[in-house]
C-alpha cells in the first residue's frame, strides 16, 4: 500500500505518561487474546499479541516518540492497495506459505501506514459515548460466549461447543465462502486505514 509520504503536521506532541481508561481497556483486550493464543499453543499468534501489547503499553506510558504527524494516503493509493490485497487473499489457497507471506506483507504495510501520529481529543459527545458503550457491551457479550465455547471445548471435548471459528471454517472451505470472507476482511481493513489516516 503506497503513500505519498507527506504529513499534515511535523510538530512533536507531548504524550501523557499514564494510559487513559480507554487505552487500558484495549491493552487488556490485546493481552486477553494473547493469553488465549498461549492456551491454544499458537505461539506465533501469541507472539503477535505480545509484541502489540508491549508496543501499546510503551506508547500509552509515553515511552515511544510521539508526534501529530499523520501519513497521508490518497483514495487512489488505498484503492490500489486494497485491490492488490483482495486479489492476493482471494486467489491464494488458505493455509499455504504463499498466503502466510501475503498476510504478513499486508499486515506490515498497514502497520507502517497507520503507525504515525497520536492525538488526545476533546471529550466525546454524549451520543457517541452512548454508541460506544452499546457497541462495547454487545461485542463483549459475543466475546464472552466465544470464550465460554472455547473453555467448554477444552474441558469437555465430547459436548458440542462450536466457537465462531468452528462455525465459519466449513464456510471458508468453499470458494464462495473464501471469496466473501476475503472481500469483507479487506473492505474492513480499508475502512480502518481510511479512518486512521484521515486526521
Amino acid at each position: 500500500m503506497s503513500t505519498n509520504g507527506s504529513t499534515h503536521d511535523d510538530d512533536a506532541v507531548e504524550r501523557a505518561t499514564r494510559p487513559t481508561l480507554g487505552e487500558l481497556a484495549w491493552i487488556g483486550i490485546v493481552v486477553a487474546i494473547g493469553i488465549v493464543q498461549v492456551v491454544r499453543l499458537q505461539w506465533f499468534d501469541a507472539l503477535v499479541f505480545a509484541a502489540a501489547a508491549l508496543a501499546i503499553i510503551a506508547d500509552s506510558t509515553g515511552r515511544l516518540p510521539s508526534s501529530s504527524r499523520v501519513r497521508r494516503v490518497t483514495g487512489r493509493a488505498l484503492l490500489i492497495g486494497g485491490v492488490m490485497a483482495a486479489a492476493a487473499v482471494t486467489l491464494l489457497p488458505r493455509h499455504t506459505p504463499a498466503m502466510m507471506v501475503a498476510m504478513l506483507a499486508i499486515g506490515a504495510a498497514v502497520l507502517i501506514v497507520v503507525w504515525p501520529g497520536t492525538t488526545r481529543t476533546a471529550p466525546w459527545p454524549h451520543g457517541l459515548r452512548l454508541l460506544s458503550w452499546w457497541c462495547a457491551a454487545i461485542v463483549i457479550a459475543g466475546c464472552l460466549w466465544e470464550l465460554a465455547q472455547f473453555v467448554r471445548g477444552r474441558v469437555a471435548p465430547d459436548i458440542p461447543a462450536p466457537a465462531l471459528s468452528d462455525l465459519l471454517n466449513p464456510l471458508l472451505g468453499t470458494p464462495i465462502g473464501h471469496l466473501v470472507f476475503a472481500v469483507v476482511w479487506v473492505t474492513a481493513g480499508a475502512f480502518l486505514v481510511r479512518r486512521a489516516v484521515r486526521r
Binding site: P19, S66, G127, L128, V139
Partner: protein, 68 residues
C-alpha cells in the same frame, strides 16, 4: 446451532443499537465512532492488530484446533 443464533443476534443487536442511537443523536455514527477511536495510537494499533489477526486466523494460521 445455538452458537450460530447467538452470534447472529449479536450482529443484529449491533445494527439495531447503531440505528437507535443515531436516530436520537444524528452525529453518533459508526464512522464517527471509529474516527474518534483511531485518533489514539494505542487504540488504533490494537484495532488494526485484531483485524489483521482475524484474517491471519481464518486464511493463513490454524483456524480450528484439532483437539477442540
Amino acid at each position: 446451532m445455538f452458537s450460530a443464533i447467538y452470534f447472529g443476534l449479536c450482529a443484529v443487536a449491533l445494527v439495531v443499537a447503531a440505528l437507535i442511537v443515531r436516530h436520537e443523536y444524528p452525529e453518533a455514527t459508526l464512522t464517527a465512532l471509529f474516527d474518534r477511536m483511531m485518533d489514539d495510537r494505542v487504540v488504533r494499533i490494537a484495532v488494526i492488530v485484531i483485524w489483521w489477526w482475524l484474517g491471519w486466523h481464518f486464511l493463513a494460521g490454524q483456524t480450528v484446533d484439532p483437539h477442540a
